[in-house]
């Protein structure tokens, strides 16, 4: 192991070692290390490469051989649980799904924590803000006067809802969202993940709750200016912007900006129609900003 910026001699295996046909190559990983309050740094590791290896395998190799206290959050190693999110060469990704062969032979692979959330240690961030946001969404509300035996719907009626429900809560969409990145602690926007959850509830064939006032006022749906960054990083390939956020924006617009509805609300003496406003939680702790790491 060598530390970036140290004066020690380079290790025997250079990052430029080409991938040999015999498969005896190594990959060089630069891994963010640190805790809040400590001097952050990048440690470098040369990891032997096996066929099909992913970044998470390389991190496990480092834990087992070089740095047993390296903090990495992971569970299933199969892209089903959404625990091992990190930024690999600057791009938010699941490390269990990022193949070492995705990089050029000899290319250094830099692994950093998600920077939108407060750092706990190394590659692990405090994502509890997301769970607090989730609590503010009205849960599934079926009709009270309809026996469950009569809940019939066709497969094509629920395919969109099932798309939203594929979400594995990796929070990569929250990480990449510039609205969340640009607001450090008081975040006025629930973020793509929770718009996807809200869409799954709003478009459920029999859900009865109206979340439009919440989405507009508390959830801050207007903050999204549909740059589609979230869609690009979604490992489940959910079309977050096109299939979840835009339909919700349209619903909210129909309710609030339709002149007839506006006039109706005026006549009934309603304000802008916020309903019960729920405050989004305040982010606790310092986001893991890139400035923390000397480059």
């Amino acid at each position: 192991m060598t530390e970036a910026g140290s004066t020690s001699a380079p290790t025997a295996s250079s990052a430029l070692t080409p991938a040999s046909p015999a498969g005896s190559s190594e990959a060089r990983l630069r891994v963010f290390r640190g805790t809040p309050g400590s001097e952050p740094r990048f440690d470098e590791f040369d990891v032997p490469v096996e066929d099909g290896m992913v970044v998470l395998d390389a991190l496990h190799w480092i834990q087992g051989h070089e740095a047993p206290d390296l903090a990495v959050r992971w569970n299933c190693k199969a892209a089903k649980c959404g625990s091992c999110s990190a930024e690999v060469n600057g791009r938010p990704r699941l490390t269990c799904k990022t193949r070492l062969t995705d990089f050029e032979p000899g290319e250094e692979i830099t692994v950093e924590p998600m920077r939108t959330f407060p750092l706990i240690k190394d590659l692990v961030t405090d994502v509890s803000w997301n769970y607090e946001v989730n609590k503010t969404i009205a849960p599934f509300t079926p009709p009270t006067d309809m026996p469950q035996e009569d809940w019939r719907w066709q497969q094509e009626d629920i395919e969109r809802v099932q798309e939203y429900r594929k979400c594995i809560e990796c929070f990569l969409c929250q990480d990449v969202c510039h609205v969340l990145r640009n607001h450090e602690t008081e975040r006025p926007f629930m973020g793509p993940r929770y718009l996807v959850r809200a869409a799954g509830l709003e478009l459920h064939p029999i859900d009865q709750a109206d979340r439009r006032p919440y989405l507009k006022d508390s959830g801050g749906i207007g903050y999204c200016n549909i740059t589609k960054c979230c869609t690009e990083v979604c490992p489940e390939h959910i079309k977050i912007t096109d299939n979840a956020i835009i339909p919700l924006k349209e619903r909210v617009a129909d309710e609030y900006y339709d002149p007839l509805r506006w006039a109706w609300r005026k006549m009934r003496g309603e304000g802008s129609g916020s309903g019960d406003r729920v405050e989004l939680p305040v982010l606790q702790g310092e986001p893991a900003t890139p400035e923390q790491a000397p480059d």
Binding site: G52, V54, D69, C76, A78, R99, V124, R165
Partner: protein
């Protein structure tokens, strides 16, 4: 740094340890019964192993097969379990699983639909009818998200990334739990009137497993140390289809739904070998030839009824796993030491729709397009049928106030579990156990008194790995354990190997007592591994001792030196593990609980 001798204290009526399906369902039931509930999980909420369950949840809803009912489901479960199941558990499970599945739908789960708009059901090994409610091949995700949302809406207090290392007991039973936050290392004690263990399985004791790091036998070991009994620990399910390549994903699950949708197993010579391995007494339940199997698959893909019988690949998991093992051992394996599983003969869009996450998994991780060619697969450690002995009605252990539900328990599945029965198990017994624990909590006055000597001892044990100045890495000992268990206590067992395993386990335990960890207490995976390794050593010894005692082959337990099923001696005996008065592990047997005569008549047509 916070002193670890200064723990936080969080009292609850009911403390649920583990937030997979069983723990979540128990927490919801306990909260509905009016208890103040704390829910502790080692990971973030919603990441537990239930999320990995793919194929479906078994319940005789009768939406696809009108001939199905709870009696057929009960019978299938007992046959699959080779009659070692606790019959009352199998009965309750078959009776109540349809209501538990409908309840999930009422809480917002969106299952795949039949043509008449109801919950669709698919076929799985050992089930007489299409019985598994499902959402493509991500049923577990749908279930855990639904339960998670329900628990959040119920306001249940969740302790995420928190590990429990010890249960404390007193003259009246369990009094609480001691643990620490993985995120900070700070210790925490939970005085509790009742505790539910729902920590899942033990797969990490083996080298090749479909299980994540979380599956380290925590609940089994905590219960054993607190005085509860473990039963049938020799029955470890090796799932027939895990990925074998690339090395980083070796053991990763390939859902049985691939076979449920028509996947065909072939060896390197192209032979459909499962025809050779169907047990004679069950052969009449399977197709006679390729043509009949193809008729069954065609009818299935068009959602039509058929009289054709199911393909041989849908034999029970224990049988398919042994068949694959034999094919490889006899030199008919695939290039990476597995066999081929092929679904590519069906239309590509059909395969992608029915098995979307398998399609992704192979494309992304192995560069294999399963709509164009076969997968390479082989057996992988998947599930433990054995576990904590519980009362069928309430999930109570023999320690007052200590309850358990889900994979951590034994009895429900006997010697072999049918696919789909674990998700229904955790719903049915999660609910019953949460209610049982809440009822017990109501009988306890005031906050339980946690014996300070026990608490101090537990806190000291948490500190110990830091205080040893030098020693081996816990990862090295864990790795040695996994390699040893795979080699000596795997799919096929023999007395000499099991004896050798017990000697190695004693040596590994000695090495474990001296491991040392680097770094601080904040999110330190090496430190976490120390306690998980201790639990794995306990369950590995329980598996090995039980396997050595059972001198027959039955279900998932295959002895080369005792290849036959011995009903006369073993047909009605559960293995029992308990901590002796001398602190050593004792192994003995107990009769399988009596079966209601009415249930017996359901089995008579089949029972030998």
């Amino acid at each position: 740094m916070t002193s670890p001798n200064d723990p936080q204290t969080r009292p609850h009526d009911v403390l649920v340890i583990g937030a997979g399906g069983a723990g979540l369902r128990a927490a919801i039931a306990a909260a509905e019964a009016g208890a103040d509930v704390g829910l502790v999980c080692k990971s973030l909420l919603g990441k537990a192993h239930t999320v990995m369950a793919e194929g479906g949840v078994a319940a005789a809803l009768r939406h696809v097969a009108p001939d199905d009912d709870w009696k057929v489901h009960f019978r299938d479960t007992m046959i699959g379990g080779k009659y070692l199941n606790n019959p009352r558990m199998a009965q309750l499970h078959a009776l109540e699983s349809p209501d538990r599945v409908r309840e999930l739908e009422a809480w917002g789960a969106v299952f795949d639909r039949t043509r008449d708009g109801r919950i669709l059901q698919r076929s799985f090994g050992g089930h007489s009818h299409p019985r598994l409610a499902h959402v493509g091949d991500r049923t577990g995700l749908e279930m855990i998200r639904t339960l998670q949302d329900r628990a959040v809406a119920a306001g249940i207090q969740v302790y995420m990334e928190c590990t429990i290392s010890r249960l404390t007991t007193g003259p009246t039973g369990v009094t609480g739990a001691v643990g620490y936050w993985r995120t900070t290392g700070r210790t925490i004690v939970f005085p509790a009137k009742a505790i539910v263990l729902a920590t899942g399985g033990i797969g990490r004791a083996f080298e090749v497993t479909s299980n994540s790091w979380e599956y380290s036998g925590d609940g089994q070991a905590l219960a054993y140390d607190a005085g509860a009994e473990l039963i049938d620990m020799e029955f470890v399910q090796f799932h027939p289809t895990g990925m074998v390549w690339p090395p980083g994903v070796r053991g990763l699950l390939v859902t049985e739904a691939v076979r449920g949708e028509g996947g065909i197993l072939r060896n390197a010579a192209g032979e459909r070998f499962m025809w050779k391995y169907l047990p004679e007494e069950r052969r009449h339940e399977y197709a006679a030839d390729d043509a009949e199997a193809a008729t069954w698959v065609t009818a299935l893909s068009q959602s039509k009824q058929t009289d054709a019988r199911r393909p041989p690949e849908l034999s029970t998991r224990d049988n398919v796993a042994r068949a694959i093992y034999n094919e490889v051992k006899e030199g008919r394996g695939s290039p990476h030491g597995g066999v081929f599983l092929d679904i590519s003969y069906l239309p590509a869009d059909h395969v992608r729709r029915k098995l979307p996450s398998m399609y992704e998994q192979f494309k992304e991780l192995a560069d294999v397009d399963i709509t164009k060619g076969p997968m390479e697969i082989g057996p992988t450690t998947h599930y433990v049928m054995g576990g904590i002995k519980v009362d069928a009605e309430t999930g109570a252990t023999r320690v007052a106030g200590l309850y358990a539900a889900g994979e951590v328990t034994g009895g429900m599945h006997g010697a072999n579990r049918l696919g789909g029965n674990s998700l229904s198990d955790l719903l049915v017994f999660g609910m019953r156990t949460g209610a049982g624990a809440a009822a017990h909590a109501q009988t306890v006055d005031g906050e339980p008194h946690m014996d300070p000597v026990q608490v101090r001892g537990a806190l000291r044990d948490l500190e110990a790995p830091f205080e040893r100045g030098s020693g081996e890495s816990p990862y090295a000992v864990l790795r040695a354990l996994q390699v040893m268990m795979q080699r000596l206590v795997g799919i096929y067992r023999i007395e000499a190997d099991l004896d050798a395993a017990l000697i190695e386990l004693a040596e590994l335990r000695r090495r474990w007592a001296e491991v040392c960890v680097d770094g601080g207490r904040t999110y330190n995976p090496g430190w976490n591994t120390v306690f998980e390794l201790g639990n794995l050593l306990t369950v590995s010894e329980a598996i090995t001792r039980s396997a050595r005692q059972r001198t027959e082959s039955r279900g998932a337990h295959s002895r080369l030196d005792f290849p036959d099923t011995d009903d006369a001696v073993w047909g009605h005996r559960n293995s029992v593990i308990a901590k002796g008065d001398d602190g050593r592990m004792s192994v003995h047997t107990a009769p399988v609980p009596d079966m209601d005569p009415e249930l017996r008549t359901l089995l008579e047509a089949d029972h030998r």
